[in-house]
Symmetry: C2
Amino acid sequence: MTLTANTRGPLAGLIVLDLTRVLAGPYCTLLLADLGARVIKVEMPEIGDDARHIGPFIHNDDGPPTSAYFFSVNRNKESIALNLKVEADRLLFDKLLASADILVENFTPGTMDKLGYGWDVLHGRHPALILASISGFGQTGPYRALPAYDMVVQAMGGVLSLTGEEGGPPTRVGVSIGDIGAGMFAAIGVQAAIIERMRTGIGKHVDIAMLDSQVALLENALARYQVDGVVPGPIGSRHPSITPFGVFKAQDGYLVVAAGNDRMFPRLCDAIGLPDAKTDPRFATNPLRCEHHAALKMLIEQALAARTAAAWLHHLTSVGIPCGPVNDVAGVMRDPQINARGMLMELPLPNGKPFITAACPIQFVGEEPQASQPAPDLDQHRASLLNELGV
Amino acid sequence: MTLTANTRGPLAGLIVLDLTRVLAGPYCTLLLADLGARVIKVEMPEIGDDARHIGPFIHNDDGPPTSAYFFSVNRNKESIALNLKVEADRLLFDKLLASADILVENFTPGTMDKLGYGWDVLHGRHPALILASISGFGQTGPYRALPAYDMVVQAMGGVLSLTGEEGGPPTRVGVSIGDIGAGMFAAIGVQAAIIERMRTGIGKHVDIAMLDSQVALLENALARYQVDGVVPGPIGSRHPSITPFGVFKAQDGYLVVAAGNDRMFPRLCDAIGLPDAKTDPRFATNPLRCEHHAALKMLIEQALAARTAAAWLHHLTSVGIPCGPVNDVAGVMRDPQINARGMLMELPLPNGKPFITAACPIQFVGEEPQASQPAPDLDQHRASLLNELGV
């Protein structure tokens, strides 16, 4: 007997077996699950996904604490505990595999081969199966066998060198973009392979490296280096080639003002009471303003010191100047637009209390998002899965 | 007569009409083009994609300069110049639309309606067409009509508040993750819609907000705030809940060391000559090390000061401790793994000189990447497109 896929969402009909742990892989399968694929996490007995042991933790009166970290990226998935080194569990895994469209893993390259589930074996037995492998450095190249973490690939991929205060040390992006970027590219690769399979009937092996993914996010830094011959470094919270466009301090805190073009700049000067800046030859064009960005920033912040950030945002918005608050996480949770978009999804924790996770940002006009299920307990779906498989 | 799709790559068979400008939209269609879709940029006559006017610029002996920025995110696309407010051009656009599977746009919400190409009109005429709309704030909600830029959504979405030195100002991520994140989620949404359409025959309207996309990248920050009740702020280049795991200074520069777990930490102490730290009660467990991270960092950096970053990387790798260089852009371009993975793709500029752009990070094992075409000149493919359409 075989598993039945979901019937709702764009990826209805697809079944994903998920061997991934921690973040890059689980983020990929979260996206697939949110879009309607049936995702079955296959976790190590007793231990489970390593993320179950990473904080912050939520207290439970009975039973072990719940990892809020795990809870945030594993909604809409089922869980079964299997040890792929134990024969009986391998037989069960083989039954699950026979129903699966996609297998996702983020072991160090070579591990799947050692487990007896390398691509050649899988492809031989299940020619339509798609395998997605997410690793630090990819399935090829001199570093393929090395372990990697988010911080390592952020550093090697160049993003750290571009982030931080001008003249200061390289700075980590405050979220795990090394993991999350790779997870997103993996979801794109999996879907591309599904689209191809609909034509050919044949699955392929998607190979996503966290390091490659960082290089793909470098935007214009490679271009700037090749054109100018100068190695780009961190420049704080301004734009390298548009001014004024960045974070400015008002009376009580920060706001963003994005008024870099020559049409917008005089309007900004009028709006904040800087008539002299409007005609100052140092600020006459965007390239000149970029050259004199420090002087301009000082003038703008002197003017902004007269009112609060909220007052300026109200005023600047009313005169059509792109701007925005610098929200901390509390501000994000209060933000009217973020709430109106349904981006803060409340799900019940194992202890029954509600907990907010970021919703799926892929929306379809005129469609209400599906009801979501909270992240599973370890092995929560064993009985229902075995029942479905007729075991 | 209708357009013919490409025959190679997983997205062979799909035709994308691309009205997007600058970065979020073009990044989405770059991914689709790299994966084999035929992407046709429809650009404003004379002006073209705004990114053509954003630096850095490459000098050409004859003709206007080439934007390296534009060149980096528009390979594998064709270009035709059409003014959608001019009747003859609209007729041509309608002919292109009749061949298209997907239309991607990143105008402010409402613009497509004003142009007479709102979703209702498009869906009525072409029920199978998928429309992907990328905007600052999305097609719904109180801010929907407001303009937004990368910097604005980075700030509103909370990522800035998590990035930077401990106690310092909020810091922009050094790449345009506000645009690129939205472009990636849009590519995922487009592919999901294609997969659904293969079952239903009906297209849908994908609605991607740059702000939503930032919230979806917040990782564990929402969880930390809800569990601890403390608003998370920037913490430099360390991890909030794993220590030591971050950037450290060696004799001549920085390196990343990721040795946070209790098995790895004593090995690190041995490797860098800190036997006392191994038994120091302040560093006995990961939670204790997190509490005393500043003291531990000082000790580690005192030890690392004895050798160069390269020497330490060689040594730490040899004893199995995850670590890596902090590459600047020049380092990225020299990196053996990044080069071995083919992530630096050389394409000819209009002036004939080679130029490196980041390759597609979505790879398939055993498949050579397709040959790529450089970004098009404005209107470069008019004649061939008209010929194909029989006009």
